[in-house]
């Protein structure tokens, strides 16, 4: 009798689908593979989940409208700041405290192409999170004081963000490279905020918050449950099925901007036209090229062993250079970012551009093998839980499906040396976008590189 009760049951079975998976009982010895599902809700809203079957979950309601789509500057940023409001007949304190009560988070974010409201929570709280998020997005109530109260926060956010030279340089690089659309600043300036009215935000929401432009994305949630909850949460709202706003394709221009700034640390960003994330093949190639070039240290201590990218040789003491790749629905930006001592920046930039040219002529197998590993590791490391849902959402909104880390890793491992060299040649054939920030007396002009 006693032996019976003490007897432990062990099971190492790894379930193959979310439905058959039972969390009750022993922990499985290895993490089961994540299940990917994409469907549509009854009203046409896309639902995508990547269920890793862990206890921590994340759900985001993502609208495919961001800084790129704004008719008046700053609308997207201000809308993000005022997305959490009091619902009719209720107050905002309850909206926030209901999330807090369970230790769930509630946040909004805006990017160049998406606005999202999301929550991270423990798996069991899905029931409360989904209606909470949906009712915030489609909240018909918008009091004048809620609009006015959001403005000082946005002003402070803009000031704090643009205070950071890296953020400022990257924002300017986008405006140089794409001018309008993707070139719109993510940050609402005080002047832009002064000219915005509540009606501008409502017009922006009315034209973009449509069923075909919204995705509900979950990580670590059962797909069927999320689908049922989304369907019931949308019951009370009649939302237009297709967006009336016309989307203009983005085009790449290139050019130069010079910003005077603190002389203590100068920045130089060089951008080239690159791949959109919707083309998985060329996106994977661009990621490998970035990893091949990137000169930032991969080991925290030990300068000699840390940096192995082709750009590492270009860096000088006190001046380092890194490579970045940002991709959007129909365009991408590959860039070199040099920061440090203003007097070194010119020589480092020239050597960096030489390094890109060398990569365009030939790529050695050893470098390629290393770059592929770095590309996979960096992509997976970049996918924190917040980033993961945002990344799934933008893919689902663009193409109706998404590529998991494993699928992208498989694509990356198929990239050949000649494809990387071709991608580098394609970069160099576009007109460079150059942003310099800092001591302008010493920083080079674009035509000097």
């Amino acid at each position: 009798m006693l032996r019976n009760t003490l007897q432990q049951r062990r099971s190492f079975a790894i379930a193959t689908s979310a439905v058959s998976y039972k969390r009750v009982g022993d922990q499985v010895s290895s993490a089961p593979a994540a299940v990917k599902s994409v469907t549509s809700a009854a009203n046409g809203v896309k639902i995508a989940t990547l269920d890793g079957r862990g206890p921590a979950s994340q759900v985001a309601v993502v609208v495919g409208a961001g800084a790129r789509h704004e008719a008046k500057a700053g609308v997207a940023h201000l809308l993000k700041a005022s997305l959490i409001r009091a619902r009719p007949g209720d107050n905002v304190v309850r909206a926030v405290r209901e999330f807090e009560l369970r230790g769930n988070t509630l946040y909004t974010a805006v990017s160049r192409e998406n606005t999202l409201i999301a929550s991270s929570f423990l798996r069991d709280d899905l029931v409360d999170v989904v209606p909470g998020l949906v009712s915030q997005v489609f909240n018909p109530s918008f009091q004048p004081y809620e609009f006015l109260d959001a403005i000082p926060g946005v002003e402070a956010e803009t000031a704090a963000s643009l205070e950071d030279p890296t953020t400022r340089v990257l924002d300017s690089l986008h405006s140089v490279a794409f001018r309008r659309g993707l070139g719109n600043s993510l940050f609402a300036t005080p002047d832009a905020l002064h000219h915005l009215k509540r009606a501008d935000l409502q017009a922006f929401a009315a034209s973009h918050f449509t069923a075909d432009n919204i995705a509900v994305v979950g990580s670590g949630v059962a797909h069927e449950e999320l689908e049922a909850l989304v369907n019931s949460a949308f019951e009370g709202f009649s939302i237009p099925s297709t967006s009336s706003a016309s989307q203009t394709a983005s085009s790449y221009y290139g050019g130069e901007v010079r910003i005077a700034g603190s002389s203590s640390a100068s920045h130089l960003a060089i951008g080239f036209k690159s791949a959109a994330f919707t083309n998985t093949k060329s996106y994977a190639t661009a990621l490998v090229l970035r990893a091949l070039l990137d000169g930032s240290h991969r080991v925290k201590w030990g300068a000699t062993s840390g940096a192995t990218g082709l750009l590492a040789a270009a860096a000088a003491p006190g001046t380092n250079v890194s490579a970045f790749q940002t991709s959007y629905t129909d365009a991408g930006l590959f860039g070199l970012h040099i920061q440090g001592n203003a007097s070194n920046v010119k020589s480092v930039a020239q050597k960096s551009v030489e390094a890109v040219k060398r990569a365009a002529s030939s790529v050695s197998d050893a470098d390629l093998a290393r770059a592929k590993k770095i590309a996979i590791v960096d992509y997976e490391l970049g996918q924190s839980r917040d980033e993961l849902v945002a990344d799934i959402a933008r893919q689902v909104l663009a193409s109706g499906n998404f590529v998991t880390v494993a699928e992208l890793a498989a694509e990356i491992s198929r990239v050949s040396a000649s494809e990387v060299a071709q991608a580098a040649q394609a970069l160099l054939s576009s007109k460079a976008s150059v942003v310099s920030y800092g001591d302008l007396n010493k920083l080079p002009y674009a035509d000097e590189l």
């Binding site: 998976y21 107050n91 304190v93 309850r94 405290r97 009560l101 369970r102 798996r123 004081y145 006015l148």
Partner: protein, 138 residues
């Protein structure tokens, strides 16, 4: 919560009180009372008489739209000028019953509800049991 104290929630007394409050007789009395108070003759609305000292009303005043705040200050200045000269507005300029709508009271109610909600949530030390059992996810 308050309506259920002492089992009053569905009582006949409470129902009678509710019908009495909505009755024409009481509305007519309240209208007569408001018109004899004298604030309309000085160009003031009923909500202008709410004492503004204290954090609750101050927060509600902060939430008024800039236009409302300006109109309110104008009414105050006009009323002050009238009272120094011991006069009233001409009957056609006085605040009519239709104009005398609550503009501050709804905001005070919102602020009060926010404070009450915050206090209720602060009193919770754990998630209520019935809520815990409701949530089981596969």
């Amino acid at each position: 919560m308050a309506s259920s104290v002492g089992g009053f929630a569905g009582s006949a007394l409470l129902a009678n009180l509710r019908t009495f409050r909505a009755s024409n007789a009481l509305t007519a009395f309240s209208e007569w009372h408001a018109s004899t108070m004298g604030h309309r003759a000085l160009g003031l609305k009923g909500d202008d008489l709410i004492p503004e000292e204290g954090p609750l009303v101050q927060e509600a005043l902060r939430r008024l739209s800039p236009q409302e705040t300006e109109n309110r200050l104008f009414r105050f200045r006009r009323a002050y000028a009238l009272s120094t000269t011991q006069t009233e507005l001409a009957p056609k300029d006085q605040i009519s019953a239709a104009e005398d709508q609550p503009y501050l009271r709804p905001l005070i109610d919102i602020v009060e509800a926010e404070i009450a909600t915050k206090e209720n949530f602060d009193l919770l030390t754990a998630i209520p049991e019935q809520l815990k059992r409701r949530n089981r996810s596969s």
